[in-house]
Amino acid sequence: MEENSDARGAVGEYKAGWHDPENSTIRFDFGLSEEVVREISRLKNEPQWMTEIRVKAFKHFIQRPMPTWGNMSMLEEIDFDNICYFLRSSDSTKNDWDDVPDDIRNTFERLGIPEAEQKWLSGVSAQYESETVYHSIREDLERQGVIFLDMDSGLSEYPEIVKKWFCSVVPYSDNKFSALNTAVWSGGSFIYVPEGVHVEMPVQAYFRINAKNMGQFERTLIIADKGSSIHYVEGCTAPTYSTDSLHSAVVELIALPGSHIRYSTIQNWSSNVYNLVTKRGIAHEKAKIEWVDGNIGSKLTMKYPAVILKGEGSHAEVISVAYSGEGQHQDAGAKIHHLASNTTSKILSKSISKNGGRGSYRGMVTVSPKANNCKLNVVCDALILDEGSRSDTYPTMEVANPTARCEHEASVSKVSDEQLFYLMSRGHTEEESLAMIVNGFFEPFTRELPMEYAVELNQLMALEMEGSIG
């Protein structure tokens, strides 16, 4: 199969689909064993306790069966023996773009990262294959005590903080892929925001897979101390190869009392990437966690950002969109657990399927018996663009306290010929008209993004609508 005979080649050009020659300094053989896990830990000079967690997680991964939801036949196609679990492309993390190796810097320049950093970000982290190659944070934030490091540096510089929180939100035994991530994790972000500090502009992480059959397993830990706030944004792309890559991240958020964490993702992996991610946060008293989650790319995504509302008066929001084109399955949703009284949550899920793509919303909201006066609101909308495409919803609500107020709405719609004709009569081609309808459908999501991302997403969707009309 040719590289660009890929599904998305037929839909529109995948902008980020080029690849650089692979110049790795350390590359592991394909396949996974306890030795590989220990070797990764040794290479990174990790403390003993981390090596032990990795090995325990590896053992769990081996015996843990595959999930029985999502897309089981696609999951069965993953060949764990044909994946490279660790690949080092640069000797160390740099904090000046000029020091980053040319080919890697070029990649990020093509993706517009250094430019965005200058204009409107508080900090940037760029991960290439397994490790973070560039990292920087604005000086004023550093002076206020904000820690923003790649996870490996976080572990070596702040081992006590990492030890305290690592696996506290997502235990390695949570699911097969959280176990895998814990065993072989590398890269990701470590953030600590001190009490009362507000990081006004977003910090961004960018993940890029370049090599074939690569596994990327970044690990992110964000701790917002009392009354602080932060907005973290992540983006990701990969070249389009004919063989699959695996991205399996774990993200843990800890929102201490009165703090606010917003975590925004625009996932635009190429359509040969499995994206199996566990994202979960714990919100303490009066804290607020928001997941803003956009899934445009990948072959199969299984991701259900979760919030545990542990403290009274805490609030959770999960706003997500998913686009599934030919050969793609987006199995996305949200999980929220109301453990304390007066907690509120809101889920808005929007999915579009086209050219035989499949979108599923899988949601779970629970209210524990002790949690009084909780408010839950779930809205899921699906837009199906053609006959062969599919959309399913699997909403679950388990409410064990009668004082809870629950609202649930779901809709499935199609683009009508009359809507298209109306827009076309205003001078817009059929593709442009379709893009207007699609972007309109995503608007409640897009307006939550920083302007630059909103524009990017709209362009991305316009590109997806190109060449789609026969």
Binding site: S416, D417, E418, Q419, F421, Y422, L423, M424, S425, R426, G427, H428, T429, E430, E432, S433, M436, I437, N439, G440, F441, F442, E443, P444
Partner: protein, 262 residues
């Protein structure tokens, strides 16, 4: 300067009507709805079409605009000497055809301001959709139609009242300055002031220019304001009678039955 003189001379020299419909037969799924329509609209002229429910008025408007569901079996639709039939509706729009819809469609999430700018850009060109000149034109048009500024951030036709939708159609017409404006029952659902402001908008857009308009209506009120050059009566897919504005008054008094007898 006498602006009216130029189009008159042009018209006389070229002898080209703005719009010519020739023996048009069209329908849907094999059912013929339009059964041989002939119509000529000259530059600067406003024509009206009246007719019973289901007689084919909206179908005619859709065929002029290029609705993909309708098939043309025979005849032609010609704008300034050029047949429209092979063109997609967006190409027709860029040639200057505008349709004010009987039932404008809602597009949730598409902001009015954004939509207007994009539409002006694709029909009039990028330059006209930019800068202070565009904003000023937009502000003036909105004021003249009594559309509040808050509409700019609302979604296209989403939750608009019946009359608001119609005003919004005319706002688009004013910004797009079409060569041919087809207004399909724009007056239905408008209040009395609305009919007057819309009529003023149509007069300003057509009279004294080389553009033209085709107004589809059931009522003579709008025609009192715009004073059409011709009124045509459509019955079962054919134009059965044409005349001056007095025909509209007569129809309103006597209905359509008498035309059938003749």
């Amino acid at each position: 300067m006498n602006t009216q003189l130029v189009p008159l001379i042009l018209r006389d020299n070229l002898r080209l009507p703005l719009l010519e419909i020739k023996d048009l037969h069209a329908g849907i799924d094999g059912n013929e709805i339009l059964k041989g329509i002939n119509l000529k609209i000259g530059p600067g002229e406003i024509h009206a079409i009246m007719g019973r429910n289901g007689s084919g008025k909206t179908t005619a408007a859709n065929v002029i605009m290029g609705h993909p569901d309708f098939e043309v079996a025979e005849g032609d639709v010609i704008l300034e000497g050029e047949s429209l039939l092979e063109m997609e509706s967006w190409e027709r729009a860029r040639k200057g055809v505008f349709l004010s819809f009987q039932y404008p469609q809602a597009v949730p999430g598409l902001q009015v301001g954004n939509f207007l700018r994009k539409s002006v850009a694709s029909i009039r060109g990028e330059e006209e959709a930019k800068g202070a000149a565009f904003r000023e034109k937009l502000t003036m048009a909105m004021e003249s139609l009594d559309i509040p500024r808050t509409f700019m951030s609302r979604y296209v036709n989403d939750g608009f009242s019946g009359g608001e939708k119609k005003r919004f159609e005319i706002l688009q017409m004013m910004l797009l300055s079409p060569r041919l404006a087809v207004l399909d029952e724009t007056d239905s659902g408008l209040d009395i002031d609305g009919i007057r402001t819309v009529s003023e908008g149509v007069n300003a857009a057509i009279r004294g220019t080389d553009s033209g308009a085709l107004i589809i209506t059931h009522y003579s009120r709008i025609l009192e304001h715009v004073q059409p050059d011709m009124v045509h009566v459509l019955l079962d897919g054919k134009i059965v009678s044409s005349g001056g504005p007095e025909l509209a008054t007569k129809l309103e008094e006597r209905g359509y039955e008498w035309l059938k007898q003749e």
